[in-house]
Every structure is written in structure tokens, then in C-alpha cells.
């Protein structure tokens, strides 16, 4: 008996996971962290993305808050799908597709010089960066990570092993991302004197 990485999880079974398994676990958990965060944030605050897309799309293609919530729901479902072995390949393809979608939206915002905060990753109440280069980079990174996860092929370890590690790492990743995206809010609550004017978009 040695130390345990997870409750009831002996070291030797963890060590049996191959490097390919770890690639799958890490890629799935990274994707799931980002998508879970983005999805839950948009479920609560769809207005920011509605405003940002309103800036980019012609009036005839105006996006509603309900449509943004549907997208958010898809992100959460894909995030959960990445953590279960049977749905992982399909969810990886979907995550890659979402990454490409984010990159296209970011490119459109970048080219147009968008200034409306998109609330893509949370932060609450329309805060955050507008659609732009950061979304292009994030979208392409998501697509690349999804491709790497798919290319890793079938896992050698048991499905339960990968799900457990994927879920644990995705939990940690989501929490860290959430704290990072809400850092201004946390700062203003903990240090009220530090609160300053929030910049809003010109357009």
C-alpha cells in the first residue's frame, strides 16, 4: 500500500496509465474546464454576448438571449461528454467545432475592432474583453487540443480511470478559470477601495 492519488485509488493503477492515456485525460479536462466555464457563465449572463454579436451581425440576424443560452447548454453538454469514454470522440469533434466557431467570431470582432465586452468566459455583467485576437487564439487552441485528444486514439487504461482523472482535473481547471475570470469582482469585494471605473465599449 502506498499513498493514494484519489480516494481508494492505489498508486500502481495510476502508474499503469500510458502517456497516451494522460494525453487523453489532459486534453479532455482542459477542454471540459474551458467549455464548462464558458457555458455556465453564458447561461447566467447571456446579455454580454448578445450585445457583442449585435455589434457584429446585421440587424436582420440579431441573436437573442435564448439562442446564447442554447449555445451555452451545448458547451456544457460537450464539456460533460468529454469526460465519459463512450461520448469522448464525438464530444472532441464538437469541442473542435466550437473552438473553430470561437475563432471565427473572434476574427470577425478583431477585423471590425469590436469593443463590446463579450462575456465569453464569464466575469459577470458584461465585463471582460471584446471579441478579438484572444478569442481567435483560444478557439484555435481548443481546436488543436481537441485534435490532439482525438489523435491519441483509444485509451489503454479502463474507462473509469480516465473519467475519474478527467473529472477531477476538469473540476480543478474550472475553479481556477472561474477565480481568474472573476478576479476583478473578488478584488472589489475584498478591497472595496480598489474598485475603479469599468471601461465600456465605444461600439
Amino acid at each position: 500500500m502506498g499513498c493514494r492519488f484519489l480516494p481508494g485509488r492505489p498508486v500502481d493503477t495510476v502508474l499503469r496509465m500510458t502517456s497516451g492515456d494522460w494525453v487523453i485525460v489532459l486534453s479532455s479536462s482542459v477542454l471540459a474546464s474551458v467549455l464548462l466555464n464558458a457555458g455556465l457563465a453564458k447561461l447566467v449572463s447571456p446579455a454580454a454576448l448578445v450585445g457583442a454579436l449585435d455589434e457584429l451581425l446585421p440587424a436582420a440576424f440579431a441573436v437573442s438571449a435564448r439562442a446564447v443560452r442554447v449555445l451555452a447548454g451545448v458547451e456544457v453538454i460537450v464539456a460533460l461528454g468529454l469526460l465519459a469514454a463512450p461520448t469522448r470522440p464525438l464530444a472532441s469533434v464538437a469541442a473542435g467545432g466550437l473552438g473553430c466557431l470561437f475563432a471565427v467570431a473572434g476574427l470577425a470582432g478583431w477585423r471590425r475592432g469590436s469593443q463590446a465586452p463579450c462575456g465569453c468566459m464569464g466575469g459577470g455583467g458584461g465585463r471582460g474583453r471584446p471579441l478579438g485576437a484572444a478569442n481567435v487564439a483560444l478557439g484555435l487552441a481548443l481546436a488543436a487540443v481537441a485534435a490532439v485528444g482525438l489523435a491519441a486514439g483509444a485509451p489503454a487504461a479502463g474507462a473509469g480511470d480516465l473519467t475519474a482523472w478527467g473529472a477531477a482535473l476538469a473540476s480543478a481547471g474550472s475553479l481556477l478559470l472561474s477565480v481568474w475570470t472573476s478576479r476583478d469582482l473578488a478584488r472589489s469585494l475584498l478591497l472595496p477601495g480598489a474598485a475603479s471605473i469599468d471601461r465600456e465599449a465605444t461600439e
Binding site: 450585445g51 473509469g160 475519474a164 471605473i197
Partner: protein, 181 residues
């Protein structure tokens, strides 16, 4: 099996915390300032502004600012919430120009939306210009944020300030212009 259940429980907890953070953020954006609803008096100089710049061309409705010894251009946007509030507060008596020529620039993704914004807030009482995508104000003064006020002297940008409260802006513009006179 127990490991999977434990990890999934952890994931649910993490999701709940993420959701809580998101809801806190949304709530914070809806709650008035802690000082009893008094608007934020802070004025922030816009770092990106091209202070000292004189535009090559001026839109017709803003042309009077190009030759005015002192003038104020208020930059609003159709997508920012503060801009809606401020646009609703603008009255001839509460004009930020305080006797000086002033005008309003409405940054908008389309002319129609900009005109709608002007109509909704009765901005037709003031000289205003709908700047599609903020192209002109970005090119002329490098300004990307709203609501903001551009203090001009003979068409030259003297200062650019982001603000949330008209009274604070008036006090600041009066002080700034007086100091520079």
C-alpha cells in the same frame, strides 16, 4: 467505481462554484454603487487617446468644434448601458458644454441604430453625429471607449476622459478648461 463517483461529485461541486461566481458577477452589475446609488464620480483619462491630434476632416455636424476656442465632444455608444443613462440625462440645461460648443458622437454598428438611439433619447436637440463603427473617432482621436468626453481646443484634442456622471464631468471640464486658459 467509487473513484468515478467521487470525481463526478467534485465536478458538480466545481460547477456549482463556477455558477455561483457567474451569478455574483451578474448581480454585481445590477446592484447600484454602495454609496446609496450616487453615480460613480471617477473620471479616467483614456490612455489610448491621441492627445494633441487635430483631425484632417470633420463631419459636418461637428465642424463647429474644429474652430471653437474650447469645445467638448461627448462620445456615446448604442451598446453601452451607461451611455443610455447619460443620453437620457442630457438636457440643454445640463449640457456638458456649459456655454462652450459641444456635440455628441454616437458610435453605432449601423446608421439606423445610431439614429434610433438619438431619437429615443431626444438627442436631436444637440448637434450630433452617428459614427458608424466608431471609425471617425477612432481614426481622428484614437478613442475606443465610451462614455467619454473629448476636450478640444481649436480642434486639437486636449484631454480625453471616461466618465459615469455628468456632474462630475462638468466639474472636471470646467476645471480643466479654466486651468488651460
Amino acid at each position: 467505481m467509487i473513484q468515478v463517483v467521487t470525481a463526478l461529485a467534485l465536478l458538480v461541486l466545481a460547477g456549482a462554484v463556477v455558477l455561483l461566481f457567474a451569478m455574483l458577477g451578474e448581480l454585481a452589475s445590477r446592484v447600484p454603487p454602495p454609496d446609496g446609488g450616487r453615480p460613480d464620480q471617477t473620471l479616467v483619462p483614456l490612455d489610448e487617446a491621441l492627445v494633441g491630434n487635430v483631425p484632417d476632416t470633420w463631419p459636418g455636424s461637428l465642424a463647429h468644434l474644429s474652430s471653437a476656442s474650447e469645445g467638448v465632444l461627448v462620445v456615446l455608444s448604442t451598446v453601452c448601458q451607461s451611455c443610455r443613462r447619460i443620453a437620457g440625462q442630457l438636457t440643454p440645461e445640463l449640457g456638458v458644454g456649459d456655454g462652450r460648443p459641444f456635440a455628441i458622437l454616437i458610435s453605432s454598428p449601423g446608421r439606423d441604430r445610431g439614429e434610433d438611439f438619438a431619437q429615443q433619447h431626444a438627442l436631436g436637440r444637440f448637434p450630433y453625429f452617428v459614427d458608424e463603427n466608431g471609425d471617425w473617432v477612432t481614426r481622428a482621436f484614437g478613442v475606443l471607449s465610451s462614455p467619454s468626453a473629448l476636450l478640444l481646443r481649436e480642434g486639437r484634442l486636449e484631454a480625453a476622459l471616461q466618465f459615469r456622471d455628468l456632474t462630475a464631468l462638468r466639474a472636471a471640464t470646467n476645471g480643466q478648461m479654466t486651468r488651460r486658459s
